[in-house]
């Protein structure tokens, strides 16, 4: 490809570059359609039928129906586009962002009120910060599942 990517070593972070943009083109364009109130209504009335109007991959459609924003992002979605799905559902940006961490809404909100997530250990993949792969999903549910506490 020849595109230099100095940004692939940041944990829990996908940079929306030309390659992601190409991969996510129709997913993101579907999201743009939700800027119109009549399209939001049509989507909510029959999600599957509405998604089938777009040249998205089956995986992208599944990811949208599951409201799994991390999954949407892996298939090329960008958060500013995906936010239109959350808006259609009446969710806030904080709810959407939090949903990608595995935390409950309250856990995420408390983290933010407490000063947000620390950058320590979260600068490079392989450190030990809370955003690193081996600490996912975050929050009590995740810790319990991993038998940590």
């Amino acid at each position: 490809m020849g595109l230099e990517k100095p940004y692939t070593d940041v944990p829990g972070t996908i940079i929306f570059d030309a390659e992601q943009s190409r991969k996510g083109y129709w997913l993101n364009q579907f999201c743009m359609s939700l800027l119109k109130a009549e399209n939001r209504a049509r989507f909510l009335a029959n999600e599957r039928a509405y998604l089938d109007e777009w040249a998205m991959s089956e995986e992208q459609k599944d990811a949208v129906m599951a409201r799994d924003l991390n999954w949407c992002m892996r298939t090329g979605g960008n958060i500013y586009f995906l936010a239109k799905i959350g808006a259609t559902d009446g969710r806030s940006f904080q709810q959407m962002a939090g949903s990608m961490t595995g935390m409950t809404e309250e856990e995420y909100r408390n983290m933010m009120v407490g000063g947000g997530r620390s950058v320590e250990g979260n600068r490079y993949i392989g450190e030990d910060g809370d955003a690193q792969e081996h600490h996912q999903p975050q929050g009590q549910a995740g810790r319990t599942a991993r038998g940590e506490a």
């Binding site: 940004y7 940041v10 944990p11 829990g12 972070t13 996908i14 940079i15 929306f16 570059d17 030309a18 943009s21 083109y25 993101n28 364009q29 999201c31 743009m32 939700l34 800027l35 119109k36 109130a37 939001r40 991390n70 992002m73 960008n78 958060i79 500013y80 586009f81 936010a83 239109k84 959350g86 808006a87 259609t88 009446g90 806030s92 940006f93 904080q94 959407m96 962002a97 939090g98 990608m100 961490t101 595995g102 995420y108 983290m111 933010m112 009120v113 000063g115 947000g116 997530r117 620390s118 950058v119 979260n122 600068r123 490079y124 955003a131 690193q132 792969e133 600490h135 996912q136 975050q138």
Partner: protein, 289 residues
């Protein structure tokens, strides 16, 4: 002649707009955010700018993946608040300044900045939230913004986004353009977006107050050095959406001290965590004549 009298820097978090529109600004969560702008509201009432050159980014609202301008200048007569999915914000239509905007476009393009000229677009929270923060939401009885606004949209959504250096140089060219407009106008230039925040993935919610405050320090006293910071540092230290801060360098590059004038005078500085997912930063610099 037109003259830039001051630059204003502020985050443009959508939740701030929602809080204000829903009357939540007095709630304990939001009160400290809005309190940081009390000085600014008074200040701008006295400053009475005629035109604000407002640097912001579109958040997949006016620009889809069909077309992504690196730099877009609004030369239209007006711009409606966009429906971003929650319905349009209940704020006034933004009145442009077609003559000054066209003049700046001409001058800056001739200085080798490859602008896209836009005559029709809706403007999203990136542009309207700073107006709300600085002016408050206009009352129904007088439903208009107090001055003209020239929207200047920067691509910070799809990489590669313009470098800090490019933004800073662009600011210099904008200053030159505004200073050569032969109408007497009090112009402010605003840089918006940031500060540290990440809206995606396992690292969502990242805040780096130390880095943000160093950014504010250097924006005041060492903007040229700050402009050299590469994108990857913004991403790593300030979160993937912290990259919006490059836009502040456009406003900073337009100040007189950069062109050999007297030092820009900080008259207000504010920092608060959090607003929704984001660290809120705010700064006002005046040109000293």
């Amino acid at each position: 002649m037109a003259k830039i009298t001051a630059s204003v820097y502020t985050s443009h978090v959508p939740a701030i707009g929602a809080a204000l529109d829903l009357g939540k600004d007095k709630e304990p969560y939001w009160q400290p955010v809005f309190a940081g702008y009390d000085f600014s509201k008074q200040w701008i009432k006295e400053e009475k700018p005629d035109v604000i050159f407002l640097v912001y980014n579109d958040h997949a609202t006016a620009f889809s993946l069909d077309l992504i301008p690196t730099f877009a200048i609004g030369t239209g007569a007006q711009y409606a608040p966009a429906d971003e999915g929650w319905g349009p914000r209940p704020v006034p239509t933004v009145q442009g300044h077609p003559e000054l905007a066209a003049h700046i476009a001409q001058s800056v393009i001739q200085d080798d900045f490859d602008l896209t000229i836009v005559n029709r677009m809706d403007v999203d929270h990136g542009l309207t939230v700073p107006l709300s923060l600085m002016f408050g939401n206009p009352p129904q009885s007088h439903f208009e913004w107090p001055c003209s606004v020239i929207p200047f949209a920067v691509n910070v959504v799809q990489y590669p986004v313009p470098s800090g250096k490019r933004c800073f140089e662009l600011g210099k060219a904008i200053r030159k353009a505004i200073n050569s407009f032969d109408q007497d106008l009090n112009v402010q230039i605003w840089g918006t977006g940031g500060m540290s925040h990440q809206l995606q993935g396992a690292r969502a919610g990242l805040i780096n107050s130390d880095w943000d405050n160093r950014f504010l320090d250097r924006l005041i006293s060492d903007p040229a050095g700050l402009a050299e910071v590469p994108h990857i540092e913004y991403v790593r230290e300030a979160g993937s959406e912290g990259i919006e801060l490059v836009m502040w360098l456009i406003a900073r590059g337009a100040m007189e001290d950069v062109a050999g004038g007297k030092p820009a005078k900080p008259v207000h500085r504010f920092f608060h965590v959090p607003a929704s997912n984001t660290a809120v930063g705010h700064l006002i610099l005046e040109n000293q004549s």
